[in-house]
């Protein structure tokens, strides 16, 4: 009986998530990214418990108050505490991100994998749809849609979904074409696996890693879409607090109370930096490359 000559005992590997977290924490960018993201997600999740005031509570006496001990970030034109509104806004914005990105990812990836695997008709149809979307100027299209179905978060989410689908479709399709050539896909087919099985069990799991990086980098875009639309008045309807609507308020009162606009911009900046850095750090950790220095 021939036995394998093993290396020294292989220790049980730590769960992938822990390894990933450790990896991310090891770089400066990763630390910054992870901290910012955790801060924002934390606010979004813990919103009802950590807001110092009711975000919609009007207090005329505190109208346009500058930052102070009572209102850490000041108050807006109706005396509503800005800190509370920002925290509340993070919940709303993150919900849009999760739903918007989630739905777009599901549809875009599914169509992309099917198209990339070789189903030409589906692929062609979807590609056509995506090309049309990509040729539209987003803000104008959004305004047009808003005028048709009304403003509101639903509209914002719909716009996000519609504009993200082509991105995920294209990447998923291109990657699928590449992955389809891998030896392990050939091995599965050689064993008799059906196309469905190959797509679900072999291609999709190997695609997700890259998509996660993409998603992280797209979050600032989504935040930007919401902020832009709400700023234009086509997004959140008052009194709903979102970062975009706060910017809108801030802009209206920029002479009397500049702090509002500044304060409203901060979470957007943090989120953008955070998610971008996180995306970069994720990409680096999922793609290890041995750096070779210049030659001796």
């Amino acid at each position: 009986m021939i036995t394998a000559h093993d290396d020294a005992r292989e220790p049980r590997p730590a769960p992938a998530l822990i390894l990933l977290a450790r990896n991310l924490w090891s770089s400066a960018a990763g630390r910054v990214g992870l901290s910012c993201v955790l801060l924002i997600v934390g606010c979004a999740l813990l919103d009802p418990w950590i807001v110092p005031y009711d975000p919609n509570a009007i207090d005329v006496s505190a109208r346009l108050a500058a930052p102070s001990f009572q209102h850490w970030l000041g108050a807006d034109q109706l005396g509503r505490d800005l800190l509370s509104r920002i925290i509340d806004g993070s919940r709303v914005v993150m919900s849009i991100v999760v739903i918007g990105v989630g739905v777009a990812l599901a549809i875009g990836m599914a169509a992309g994998v099917i198209a990339g695997y070789g189903f030409r008709t589906v692929g062609a149809m979807f590609a056509l749809f995506c090309d049309v979307i990509r040729s539209l100027p987003m803000m104008l299209f959004a305004l047009a849609v808003a005028s048709l179905i009304g403003t509101g978060l639903g509209t914002v989410t719909l716009i996000v979904i519609v504009f993200l689908i082509p991105v995920y479709f294209r990447i998923a399709r291109n990657q699928t074409v590449v992955l389809k050539q891998s030896e392990y896909v050939t091995a599965a087919r050689a064993m008799g696996a059906s196309s469905l099985r190959v797509m679900l069990k072999h291609i999709l799991p190997n695609l997700i890693g890259q998509m996660v990086v993409l998603v992280a980098m797209d979050v600032p875009t989504v935040i930007g879409i919401e902020a832009g639309l709400s700023f234009l008045g086509e997004g959140a309807r008052p009194p709903l607090a979102t970062w975009g609507s706060l910017l809108r308020d801030g802009f209206a009162f920029i002479r009397e109370a500049p702090h509002i606009a500044m304060v409203a911009g901060v979470p957007i900046v943090i989120a953008t930096i955070g998610f971008t850095f996180l995306g970069e750090a994720l990409r680096d950790s999922l793609d290890p490359r041995v750096t070779r220095g210049p030659r001796h």
Partner: protein, 321 residues
Amino acid sequence: MEALLDIAEFSVTYPTVRGRVTAVREVTLQVREGEVLGLVGESGSGKSTLANAIMTLLPDSAEVSGRMAFAGQNLYSLDRATRRRLRGNGVASVFQDPFTALNPVVKIGRQLIEFQRQKAGRSAAEAKLLAIDMLGRMGISNPAGRMNQYSFELSGGIRQRVMIAAALLTEPRLLLADEPTTALDATTELQVIELLKSSRHLVRGSIVFVTHDLGLVAELCDRVAVMYAGEVVEVGATQSVIANPRHPYTRALLACDPRRMVAPTRRFLTIPGKAPDPVSVIHGCAFASRCTEVLAGCAVERPRRWPAAGEEYARCLRLPT
């Protein structure tokens, strides 16, 4: 006469994520003028690192100790800039994969002329003529026309011959061939072997032939050095090393070769176990854990060269038998 390449107690280490790796371990070796030396080893033996060291192409992070002298000059006692200037001037190389060594977007001809640029007093026109002549000598049909082709238009065998031509055109004192036939088919390899044999006179200097194939060495090399786990475990005249190997690893390696098993067999020989982890510190003989002739002292005492002086030796506690 002093050796062209004199390597004495030469070691190379470099850091990795898992720790410090000792790729080459106190190697002592000479290459005389005009001789062909075969450097044989399996993967992980350190032969490629040693070859890179000879070509002064080690990564920045590598640490070197000991002596490596080319034409009397210790390469690693110089500062990096001086060493870089020496590169390409006297040592030429041929690699395993000529495709990546040749620029795919530049025509062959232009590259062959460029390679000769360091040769003082050689005009571009002269270089071109010499290149065409060399291609012809390599047995390549239509050499003038080939000058206008790109590397991807050529088959593996021809590419390798172009690479050899390029190396020879620089009239090196030392030609280093790193697994030049490994990626070639058996019949193409035969072509290249015959070519190397017949063009030996074109190389006025010496050749170091790095390979994992002892059979190839038997065809082409005057002397052979066998490497294991970063050390040279045996070196000597090719015929005597192959007919009468003194080191158990050499013996085992020869025994594993299916080409040397005359009677057809269904039972193949292997060397059980694995080479020691290059990150670890090796006590005693590196081959001890896999040696069928191991003695009690082998795990403790590192074998010294026997005979102690001279260019031919083996490292084994069993010597002299």
